[in-house]
Symmetry: C3
Subunit: 315 residues, 3 copies
Amino acid sequence: MKNYLSISDIDNLSEWVKEAQKLKANPKADKKLGADKTICLLFFNNSLRTRLSTQKAAMNLGMEVMVMNFGNEGWALEYGDGTIMNQNTSEHIKEAAQVVSQFCDIVAIRAFASLTDKEQDEAEVVLNGFKKYTSIPIVNMESSVGHPLQALADAITMEEQKTKVKPKVVLSWAPHPKALPHAVANSFVEMMQLQEADFVITHPEGYELNEAISKNTTIEYDQKKALENADFVYVKNWSSYTDYGNVSNQDSNWMMTMEKLGSAKFMHCLPVRRNVVVEDAVLDSEQSLVIEQANNRTYAAQIVLKKILESLSKR
Amino acid sequence: MKNYLSISDIDNLSEWVKEAQKLKANPKADKKLGADKTICLLFFNNSLRTRLSTQKAAMNLGMEVMVMNFGNEGWALEYGDGTIMNQNTSEHIKEAAQVVSQFCDIVAIRAFASLTDKEQDEAEVVLNGFKKYTSIPIVNMESSVGHPLQALADAITMEEQKTKVKPKVVLSWAPHPKALPHAVANSFVEMMQLQEADFVITHPEGYELNEAISKNTTIEYDQKKALENADFVYVKNWSSYTDYGNVSNQDSNWMMTMEKLGSAKFMHCLPVRRNVVVEDAVLDSEQSLVIEQANNRTYAAQIVLKKILESLSKR
Amino acid sequence: MKNYLSISDIDNLSEWVKEAQKLKANPKADKKLGADKTICLLFFNNSLRTRLSTQKAAMNLGMEVMVMNFGNEGWALEYGDGTIMNQNTSEHIKEAAQVVSQFCDIVAIRAFASLTDKEQDEAEVVLNGFKKYTSIPIVNMESSVGHPLQALADAITMEEQKTKVKPKVVLSWAPHPKALPHAVANSFVEMMQLQEADFVITHPEGYELNEAISKNTTIEYDQKKALENADFVYVKNWSSYTDYGNVSNQDSNWMMTMEKLGSAKFMHCLPVRRNVVVEDAVLDSEQSLVIEQANNRTYAAQIVLKKILESLSKR
């Protein structure tokens, strides 16, 4: 495997999940694999779980880690071709990407959607800029359109928790005061499309995700109906995709409650706003998997890095 | 030992001081103790000495270190129970604490007093939030009401420097242009209460520390009288505790001078404002112990981490 | 060697360049040299290449690394002697320097010129403050007046790329919208004075560098004439030195182009503003050495740290 940019870079999901579970049982087993290899984590946006779990995963594999908050610590980057750079950007992605790739063996990047310019967000200028100009493997730590490390952690969590071969899984939109990206929802949808599951998305009308991603996944606008007999309920807010980045709906009736959840397991990527996205009772119940999802972020990152390191050593 | 939250977590001070001195003589002696163990340093406030000395102590013990500036790099945390989180906080301490504890074996936290809300400061919402919701050991890197790593370094320094069994020690308030917390003064007072010493606090009227901490320690409002025959003079500013967080007195007559110091040793936790808190001549004299206090921060942190690691390995 | 503050700390340039090339061929060869040694990287300004390459170099040598963004994470420092510190500075360089030196074996510092106060910039208050009050070796990661790690990387790059014993080298000023320091240009000039080369500086009148540095180096105000038969063209903007920090000229005729470059190799320290300092065609051509210069930053830092570590082990 060269890069881990999206779910489609997983060649065999069930095998990856099994290997991740092995790593979880024995996190330091491959500590020699990453010896004398360096990973650089570049954050263009804030991060808690991704920051710590990816560092931890790399250290479990014996790698050296360099963390950089690109926005505060480095230079404002230019992405346009042919730009006369006499304004606010000090360095072009062409140079930045090539330069960074000389100081490490793997680069991991977090760069959120702006939610103001759909075209630019979908072009994934930061991630694809690095992909275009760098020679080393790239790991997506959440980009404009995807968060595949989260989705992989979610798959590991569901594998651990499921009690039937083909569970019913519902992705349920929730209200939120701020405009949030589609990345987590997108990657979860893509992940579910690889799984044996009865998968439904529920959200208010006008909150349809990109059809190129949701494809023929069932959309049920009636949340109550969607949640019937659910085994897993994944709750997440996103802003409008069609009316790009807009927050037209903050209807608290969409908040997840114990009553709505029934006996299903509750999932969320975190951070989560309590009593806005989901009521306290759900998060504080034994049905909540959110802490275990976060825990599995380490092993999702670790299996990804392990696959990349194995590819590197074969070259 | 589980946590190091305050001086009261030290089970045997004189033994800890002796062990710290052994570590100082041979800092890498226990390098295998922390192998494959990770510490996460979470800074909610700025730090120089604590940042570097705690990292250094952890590395001396062979630990892996992750440093995070929570305010800039993560999410604004909510501490209230039952809050409808539709305002500025993005993540609840319940989730944050549980999540962080999955990525490391020990968490160290710095979270200063606000000095605006006494009740909230005394509740130590950050430190106690982590204590309540995390399963891993916690180290206090300065909280609202205490700075026990500093006080332990001070105890090591005094042990090295004292020339009599029961020295006279004076904690002398000093003027400062900004409102400063009580944490350093509190922990120093608590530390002195464990020591064989003739201990006096001197400060202007109205600057009494929390009586629950100062207890029956002698308070002498006449600085000159307090300083008579002192062996150690610990100088520190703090804002008013009774008129919480207020700076009603900036009287430069309280500044420490060579004349006032006499032949005593001078101590301060740093950073210190020269010629406001203490005159240049004192800091530049051989009677100043401030650099050695800072040096001992490493061994204070190291003995704390060593004790915790030893507890972990017994579980 | 004690410190690496400027080019003049290199005792034998050609030998250093050869050793750096050996390290480049086998970066981990000296991994035991830095065992149990700690380097602290203190950034008073932003950094990409220096931040990553110096960390990487230290890790290649087996060192432990602590990175601190002094401005955001620590305290505002005072540099004046005798100052009554009742304003914005919280800690004096005297304490800060002594304290930091207790937590590490080597300290590396980046502190740019202010470009507003020539006298203070030339006094190098940060770097010289650390030099004055610290006992440990200091590495200059770009100061007010020099960037000797960059110049050493440039020397390595030129050694790799030169096709004649005495190449013609031109330092060519370029326009830029912001006022930039003289550090890179200064150190490059000093480096060229140690090399066998036909060296010319070209810039608009009024942009003369400090004569104490340029000495008797040829200055040719006619860029075209200067560039004739050049083998290496080093392009760099700097603000006026005589009219200190002023940007009186932004004439785009000084931008480097393929036409002007001819068959010469192009060099720049990065970050570079495309189509302002140099046109795209130059950076995208095979004549551009900028990525290799950045790559050699690691080995420049590594040979410097290696020399210092060897000195330390002899003490």
